[in-house]
């Protein structure tokens, strides 16, 4: 998972952003883009020496001024779980296809008839990921609610 995808996954989570000039901004991530420009809400800004503070309801930070961002551990755990679910789902899909033979649409069959082994596998991958992503969302949601139950149990 690329650094910027992780940042996107951290949306709505609290984080600390340190700028190149040493100022830090604590707040919840509202949105970010591919230049690392970010929107924060409920922000506390701390001066470089750490002895002055400013509160602001929201702020926008230009990506190029950022030194680093610190995000909560949960975000990585969450992302890991989703990735794992995706892999699990894909292997299950493949198993299902190998056993049942599948219906296969017209295009797929055409390619199979041509004997293009490569085309066939490409197609399978694409299908796998497209349908997997639909299933994954459900799966990860289940997972998460299970996790919450665990937490409650503790």
């Amino acid at each position: 998972m690329l650094p910027l995808s992780l940042l996107k996954a951290a949306q709505s989570h609290p984080m600390l952003v340190e700028l190149k000039n040493g100022e830090t901004y604590n707040g919840h991530l509202v949105s970010c883009d591919s230049w690392m420009n970010i929107n924060l809400r409920d922000v506390i800004c701390t001066s470089k020496d750490g002895d002055r503070f400013w509160r602001m309801p929201e702020c926008y930070i230009r990506g190029s001024t950022i030194k680093y961002l610190r995000i909560p551990d949960e975000v990585i755990d969450m992302v890991k779980e989703d990735a794992l679910a995706k892999v699990r789902n894909r292997t299950e899909m493949n198993k299902g296809r190998a056993g049942g033979g599948g219906q296969g649409n017209v295009q797929n069959q055409n390619q199979r008839n041509r004997g293009g082994n490569r085309n066939n596998s490409n197609n399978r991958n694409m299908q796998g990921s497209a349908s997997a992503s639909g299933g994954v969302r459900q799966f990860s949601q289940n997972n998460r609610s299970a996790m919450q139950q665990n937490k409650l149990g503790k």
Binding site: M1, L2, P3, L4, L6, L7, K20, G22, M36, G63, I66, K67, Y68, L69, R70, I71, P72, D73, V75, I76
Partner: protein, 137 residues
Amino acid sequence: MDDLNPLAGTAHLLEEVDKKLMVLLRDGRTLIGYLRSVDQFANLVLHRTIERIHVGNEYGDIPRGVFIIRGENVVLLGEIDREKESKLPLKEISVDDILDAQRREQEQRQEKHRLISKALKERGLAVNADIINEDFC
């Protein structure tokens, strides 16, 4: 290197993924953590990161968690050798002690710079803030 590879140039960083790395930032800070991800700008994701502060031959570790570091702020990074790590010629001390030591070191440095700028002024030389501050940036 393969020109079709969208990560050409940072490809060698991919080999460091999931290894324990030391990262030196442009502000002089040292971070140690597991590299989880890299992109074409050499932005990094560090997991289970500690910030290590060195003063003389003592050091202290502060747990910091997950970092997304903007690539342009990195000076260097390298893999930590697990075998050599256990026999460092340095002494680990508590976070409070190392922060104390760091503060004292900083004060000494400021005092030194104050004397330098004073001496320069007495000799009619302009004080160059860049030279004075080079250790701080």
